[in-house]
Symmetry: C2
Subunit: 421 residues, 2 copies
Amino acid sequence: MKIEPKTLKGFRDFLPKEAKKRQYAIDILRSVFESYGFEPLETPALEYEEILLGKYGEEGDKLMYRFEDNGKRKVALRYDQTVPLARVIAQYSPRGGAGQNELVMPFKRYQIQPVWRAENTQKGRFREFLQCDADIVGLDTPLSDAETILVAAKSLEKLGFKNYKVLINDRSNLFTFEKDREPFLEQGLKIIRAVDKLKKIGREKVLGEIVGKGIPSEQATYAIQTIEQMQPTERLQNIFALLNKLGINEAQFEFSPTLARGLDYYTGLIFEIEIDGYTAGSVCGGGRYDNLIGMFAGREIPAVGFAFGFDRLIEAMEQFNLFPAGIDATTKVLVTIFSPELKEKSIEVSSRLRSNNVSTEIYLDENAKMEKQLKYADQKNIPYVLIIGPEEMEKDMVTVRDMKTREQKTVPLTEVIEKLK
Amino acid sequence: MKIEPKTLKGFRDFLPKEAKKRQYAIDILRSVFESYGFEPLETPALEYEEILLGKYGEEGDKLMYRFEDNGKRKVALRYDQTVPLARVIAQYSPRGGAGQNELVMPFKRYQIQPVWRAENTQKGRFREFLQCDADIVGLDTPLSDAETILVAAKSLEKLGFKNYKVLINDRSNLFTFEKDREPFLEQGLKIIRAVDKLKKIGREKVLGEIVGKGIPSEQATYAIQTIEQMQPTERLQNIFALLNKLGINEAQFEFSPTLARGLDYYTGLIFEIEIDGYTAGSVCGGGRYDNLIGMFAGREIPAVGFAFGFDRLIEAMEQFNLFPAGIDATTKVLVTIFSPELKEKSIEVSSRLRSNNVSTEIYLDENAKMEKQLKYADQKNIPYVLIIGPEEMEKDMVTVRDMKTREQKTVPLTEVIEKLK
């Protein structure tokens, strides 16, 4: 029986070119996160189902990959990194008394691992994707709010993005709006959900959506205006002042009273980051969520953080050419083998290059034609190729070929080492 | 209902200290692999069950995490990285005609991802662990065999191991031994399996094991001697000569005629690497396997490669103190906040440090006592702490505390920057 080689729908292979780009971005994010004192955390792919369902309840039923293991335990694949964080906090936090494995509080952690969602696939939606989170657990201060935004913004700058905008709001403004509408709380929620899309779909459509939910047009118009005219809370003003002092240019962030972030579990600050000219949506979202992290610890534990949409980041970096030239070249030079008789010289040359810290490949088949070896260098984008034939042997030189310009010259090996190391 | 926060048996959380060590080792392995022209590959965690079972057959039944997804597809979690590699080769190799997503052949790839095994757990055995593979696909040459060993050995050296030994054998020697015993092939296999353990359990026990399988003691003794006295094949001699030329010290490798690597799928070269003084077992194993990678492509595709036992590597690095001092410090300096009124100065100082590329934390709670802030630095192993109180403000200086020596001195900020950047 022939088995057809294929990947599952919604899952992806990352071949070298793609994998290198992703790794490049991950390395930058890690270094920025760590430079601000965020530390890495890794949690298992599989968890007890009851732990992962804790936050999502029945909704999680269909969204998660769940099954029974050989020991009849109900398990599920990691759906996000927030619930595992809440579990870790309960399991290893100082009050838990876990001893040497204790976490330092406030706990600033980042986590970059895949998550799995059994949802229907659509353009840009995958069933396996990399989640990239940074959070501060255990503090409810304006400075921790501001630092969260700072780290997200500086990460984007290090990736090479110049023009981005952080949209900022305070969920408590929206809570006030909801509360003012009591006993019509349900209506308040509907309005907020619709107004959240103002930038995306425009005023007309937002109005239509609200009216379509049974709210008279006049009331709807008034409600939209009310939200639009809300002013930054004192906490937000505080955060804005801190952002200025922390070195975020004022042109890079703005108060956005209609921003709601889908009425998720946020309790205070919420923000999104958009990149000018990248139209697929925001690349980062986050905020303060003080009621979630304590879910297993049995007490309230404040937290603030953000997540990058990693696939969007990569797409935007591609669009703005932010990957360095030559990122797909693994090595600097390919040492070819002129003929089986001359292979020892090529091996010797490759060893000398390597001992001078030049990333070097040697073509691993002494019987391959030179043409094939050059094609290999070309396909792998290796910038230089060395050829050591009988003439070069005699002169104790090597011929260097620049694969871009196709220029060749015969020089002493020391000169090549000097140039490439 | 209170949900108990716990991880599944056989699964692990990696808290920051552990996660950083693992990342340190991964980064080194990646850089060595890439310097030899190996390129990264990532494949999905979930695959069609029939693909993963292809190699393992019924044995895979219980060893794999398998289930039905919402679309009634039979899927399984990645069990190793070899079968996915075979799938990728069939799916994207030039002959497959996959167009722009084609692989460059010979394909030198490395892959560092978790795999899952539903086996019983025991000491040092986990159900989720990191697999770390490097392979060369599409060549059957002595030079590719030798490079595989070279890359494994150089990786260990870069990790800091000085005394290791590569044990090398050729499976074709053992095939010959088996063949000589026809029609007693079954006996030949039993003997090889037992003799493989010679180093681990000693001659007595090996003999006992063979005799226990119904082979007369005299024959067993003779068989052991026969294997022990086998000589390196021509191919091996070739590989040894290449290793010398590639710069592997002769003391670091040896011919080991009894090595069998569990009679796995290898067809030629096999090798294991042991670290002197680390007794839990070999940290690396590999060899040539020419009959496996073509399983989905429907043709023979030669391959040679190796895998590190990542958990053992980490354990051995720990034993020999190969992690650099200060690896658990994320940042170089913590800027404390003396009092809420003075926080702006601290923020300014942290920004100046950061713009000079000094990894800096600022304590994120302006109301925290100094003692608590110092304890935080201590717990996170941050080497320096800055204090900016009213006196320092007046003199336009900062107080630097060396957290190790507990020494403090008050100096201009520029001096701190000069020292730490």
